[in-house]
Amino acid sequence: MLKRWLRNTTMATALLITPLPAWAQETPQQGGDVLITYKDDIATLDPAVGYDWVNWSMIKSLYSRLMDYTPGTPDLIPSLAETFDVSKDGLTYTFKLRKGVKFTNGRELVASDVKYSIERAVNPKTQGPGAGFFSAIKGYEDVSGGKATTLEGIEAPDAATVIFHLSRADATFLHVLAINFASVVPQEAVEAAGGDFGKKPVGSGTFVLKEWTIGQRLVFERNPDYFVKDMPHINKFTVEVGQEPLVALLRLQKGEVDIAGDGIPPAKFLEIKNSPAGAGMIVDGEQLHTGYVSLNTRIKPFDNVKVRQAVNMAVNKERITRILNGRATPANQPLPPAMPGYDKSYTGYAYDVAKAKALLAEAGFPDGFQTVLYSTNTDPQPRVAQAIQQDLAAIGVKAEVRALAQSNVIAAGGTEGEAPMIWSGGMAWIADFPDPSNFYGPILGCSGAVSGGWNWSWYCNADLDKRATAADSMSDPAKATERAAVWGKIFTDIMADAPWIPVINERRVVAKSPRMGGSDKIYVDPTRVINYDAIYVKQ
């Protein structure tokens, strides 16, 4: 028997389980133009390719996907899908599409577009970083291995129906259909762009790209045909690129800019925060992020669990949050507090220098040892690494800080036996979607402990891997709470082996002008950073 979720039921449930956000009491105004600045140019707006935190939000607004999230929350809702069914074994997902949805080139969006888009994201020729997310779909290996171009596991029997057949149950599959890589694109527009679709995007989202002057600005205008009434709220947003964060902030203070996308430079944070106008400017939100120190379990003496536990006790996380001007909270487990499965009752390794020393002596290192701590070389990461270095020195561990360009640190982490410790700040894990499994596979699971992988601890626990696979097979949405608890236990059990020192959960800071309306949560949206669909201008 199939389990049926009607759209209205899902939306009603989402609304019931989510505390009504404060901004729901404010009626968003329609209209207005907004100016946003970023330091870096926009790399690409191709949803199968784009994968940085700046273009992520823009791609979200240019395209639609089968699933989406309630703005400002991690709650899934159907989007292009009108209804969907999940088979009891969790292996078949059937979606019915909304009728009358149009691409911005005027053509109606049909089921075969969904199939084409996902196949394109998986096809190696696309060079898309998100291909692996679709690995549960039948036939994935053939397409990703270049043996086929169509996915056996996706059917489009008619214009309004898409059926997915999975090779294994995957509880995260609905989230996967909500990430940017699952955005639906028209084949004819991709082909007409001749390999330059990232600069000439066509979708069915809330906005249309009207102008892109390379290195200067991008102009997004409201899509008048968007399928949700009264969305988006603003008429237009212009993104100016190449703007130094400090200059952007000065412009914001003068009223020239509405949102300084890169936030407030660390050196200016306290000054702005303590200024009379500052409080209204700063948006400080929780994100699904954990900053950690990886302890390479294949390098001596970190192959000894007692050593790993000892260094866990040696790091003063409170001091590190002060170094970051309070833009973080101390962490004690891999999952961040906003993630389902986070264990509030777990206290982790308390900061205790005496106990750390004793444990180190017990492990056979009464006089400590010498090691290397890698970090990226952009502020404030070297300062955090130095704080950790000082903490370790207090228990006799002499760590040489090696602050390098991000790419070099990533390369060292992915080379077996290379980096004993890495401070992950500036490159650390921010969830692709709000599900605990996203914090396991690549960074703590055996599949990530390979050359070029992201599991810099080189930690591989076959038993935990089995439990992780079992947790991901619990695809019945009714068991979501139970599944989150299973995941939570996996992460606290990992901490017994201490392959990481979880250090902080960083908060994202955005600076906005007082004329911008809406809850802080839509400026630091857990699934898309700035939610351009939901922000509005106060009239």
């Binding site: 390719v49 994968y51 290195g215």
Partner: protein, 306 residues
């Protein structure tokens, strides 16, 4: 002259090939794996391997270099890893902005340097000379970003005379050009001063004075043109140097030129863009020097005679 140009063009081709080879080797020696960078955090090993294969990064170094050189010969600088678009087109789109900034910067430095240099030479040993020399010393040694931020703070934030950043109007170019110009003007002032002092001691200047010519005429008509020769050579060299020097200025003022493009590419390990910008900068340096070599004999018959 034709022979000189021919010889220089051959040299240019060889220099560019050398630059391409060295840059290629240096970038290849980086421990970073571009495929891993493009693939991002969540990518599977299969995805990374696929990207590596698609980019040809699994080929031997020599094969990769030969493919690249073949591309250059056909006017193809490759495709950006991060932006998935043609590098040549990206550079061309940004080159005009850098050229405008460069021209304006050179204009500021020449006018400022020349004026200060002449004044200092004429007031040699006096207070004005000392002040100018001190200022030029500060100008030469001040870090670019400090000057950029200072000008920005005073003239854009506090006084509001110029826009803080961006591109498009004449007002936008003033502060970035002034930043570049002030820094270069120091060198020019010192050079013009010593050349002028040299020229002012020449016999023909003494003769001119004896004939009763006005000081202004002596300086403008007789002394300055002769003191200008090293300046011409320096402008040629500056064209090349500016290509490398605009990175900071472009970043501070949000100027959409190739300096900014290069800076972002370095952070993303976008090798095709780094290679492309390096080659264009090398070309600019070589062409700038060539220009100086061509113009100097046209202006000075003594060089032609040699």
């Amino acid at each position: 002259m034709a022979l000189l140009i021919m010889r220089r063009l051959v040299q240019t081709a060889l220099i560019l090939l050398g630059v391409a080879a060295i840059t290629f080797l240096l970038l290849y020696a980086l421990p970073a794996d571009p495929a891993r960078m493009i693939a991002g955090r969540s990518a599977t090993a299969q995805t990374v391997a696929n990207i590596r294969r698609e980019l040809g990064l699994d080929q031997p170094l020599l094969v990769q270099f030969w493919t690249y050189v073949q591309g250059i010969l056909q006017g193809n600088l490759g495709r950006s890893y991060a932006q998935k678009t043609d590098v040549g087109a990206l550079i061309l789109a940004r080159l005009p902005a850098t050229l405008i900034l460069m021209a304006a910067g050179i204009f500021v430095e020449v006018v400022l340097g020349l004026t200060l240099g002449v004044i200092a030479a004429l007031r040699r040993g006096g207070a004005v000379d000392r002040v100018v020399m001190m200022a030029s010393f500060v100008g030469v040694s001040a870090p670019q970003f400090v000057v950029a931020l200072l000008l920005l703070y005073v003239f854009a934030v506090t006084l509001g005379w110029f826009p803080m950043s961006g591109f498009g109007t004449a007002a936008h170019v003033v502060l970035p050009a002034a930043t570049l110009g002030i820094l270069g003007a120091g060198w020019y002032a010192r050079m013009v001063r010593s050349a002028m002092i040299d020229v002012l001691n020449q016999d023909y200047v003494r003769t001119a004075r004896a004939k009763g010519l006005s000081s202004a005429r002596i300086v403008l008509r007789h002394a300055l043109p002769n003191a200008l020769l090293p300046i011409i050579a320096m402008i040629g060299i500056d064209i090349g140097q500016f290509m490398g020097g605009v990175v900071v200025v472009e970043a501070v003022y949000g100027w959409p030129g190739i300096g900014q493009l290069a800076w972002q590419a370095i952070q993303q390990v976008d090798i095709p863009i780094i290679m492309g910008v390096t080659l264009v900068s090398a070309l600019a340096i070589v062409l700038g020097n060539l220009l100086a070599d061509i113009i100097a004999p046209l202006l000075d018959p003594r060089i032609r005679a040699r």
